[in-house]
Amino acid sequence: MNTTYVPADYLPILIQMGLALGFIVTTMLVTHAIGPKRHSVKKDDPFECGIPVQGDARTPISIKYFLIAILFVLFDVEVIFLYPWAVNFKGLGMTGFIEMVLFMGLLLAGFFYIIRKGVLKWE
């Protein structure tokens, strides 16, 4: 069996792609051209799961949500570092312990800072 191919051997695939694309484009153009057009308020509305559209999506949201979300991401990601440390606790020894204490100390300093700043006060 022939195992070497030249680019010309792929011509049928190209033709098929062209046909498929051409069919889609032609169908869309033809339906737009010959189909009937009936406009109404309901029909021209953007479709939203069948529920009537309500106002603008760009309403102001309290900044507190963003703050909480960002703080969650920060502390969540930093707590992830505890897992590899726990797995390698014996291997890392005293050096690892001191480094983690430093890390957790900084983390807690940050936590204390946001509490004192009143970021977590919801009222």
Partner: protein, 468 residues
Amino acid sequence: MFPIVLLSVFAVVLLFLGFLKSRSVLLPATLLFLVAALVANFLDWNKTYLYFNSMLRTDNLSMVFTAIVLLSSFLVVALSGSFEDDEAAQPAEYYAIILFSLVGAIMMIGYENLVMLFVGVEILSVAMYILTGSDKRNLRSNEAALKYFLMGAFATGIMLFGMALLYGASGSFTLAGIASYASHAQQGLSLIFYVGLLMLLVGLLFKVSAAPFHFWTPDVYDGAPTIFTAYMSTVVKTAGFAALLHLLAASFTYVYSFWGIILAVVTAITLIAGNVTAVYQNSFKRMMAYSSISHAGYLLIGLAALSAQSRQAIVFYSLAYSIATISAFGVLMLVTRQRGMQTLSSNPLSNESFDAFNGLAKQNPLLGLAMATSMLSLAGIPLTAGFWGKFYMFSTAVERGQIWLLVVAVLMSAVGIYYYFRVIIAMYFRDGATEPIRISPVFRYVLVAAIILTIGLGVAPGLLQGLF
């Protein structure tokens, strides 16, 4: 290395000092911290060390650059007393962010690994985005911060892509590894290597606001609070040029024939764009923004030539430029505040124009002298530090034989004299209703120190020679 650890700890301490009732302790504490970092910086003097698994390096050159950055921020912080009166200001956070950003700047100065360069650039940039937008009630400040953030984030992305390509080509993130790959330039290097170098250069040139990547500079410098404009235009620029110098000198000397001409063209464009556009400005602050672009151009001359003198030239020029810029912005702050109180108009545009300086020198000789000295130094008139800065820069270009670049640079410094002297003429020869401005003692010391340093380095430029 010691300053990095000290400044990180001090910044956290400052955040907590902010909970005290009295705000007056913050400024002296910050100044004290900066002095402590400056002293600790010189502990390794005359020794070369590698820290953190060869991630960072300290040698005399990096220590001198660190000292310039710390000195600039000391002067800027000393001028920032007005936060105490401003109810909406958050001085503890501002000072803490400044200290954190200095950590980034020192990393950019002493990196030995591209990863550290990236981390340093990001620490410095993110801090700058925040400080630019720190005047939350001012729409121009908000606009500046958003513009700076979007364009800066994009530039950082390009820079990171460049680093990835360099890694792909050379298989190493360390400067030594990349240099050893580049030393095989005769056998032909992979195309990826050159593309990576170009993208890395684009990212760093954006940070030092070299043309054609300078379009953010006027809006950002104009919109940011003046005190932070002074910080940005000195510390960020010094750190950026230290990073570029170290990168090119340590890793890419073998491919100088590739990037030398590119940097020379960028230098010429930067000089022309910065100087010619500065002529047309009516606002002093905007003029200073374009002037900072043009000074990036002068500093680039030393990089494009990269001769034996370049290190010394760049160190001297950044020091002269930083001192002159800080004292100019200091005077601008006083004048703007005075005009704001007099006319009761909060329109900053008229308070920052050249006309605001009319007749300033008659009633306020010290302010006039400080401003005149820094303008002369920026213009490069003899007997000021700026003259020797330009002299060293131009002699690097001569050494490399880039005469056409030298001609452009000399022509453009002639253009520079025009707009710097507009301020001096306004202060000394125009009439204006300027009353005596009350200057706080700290302000006075900083201005006098800036005058002495500028003229002292202008009379005896050899003071810094042979240090490193």
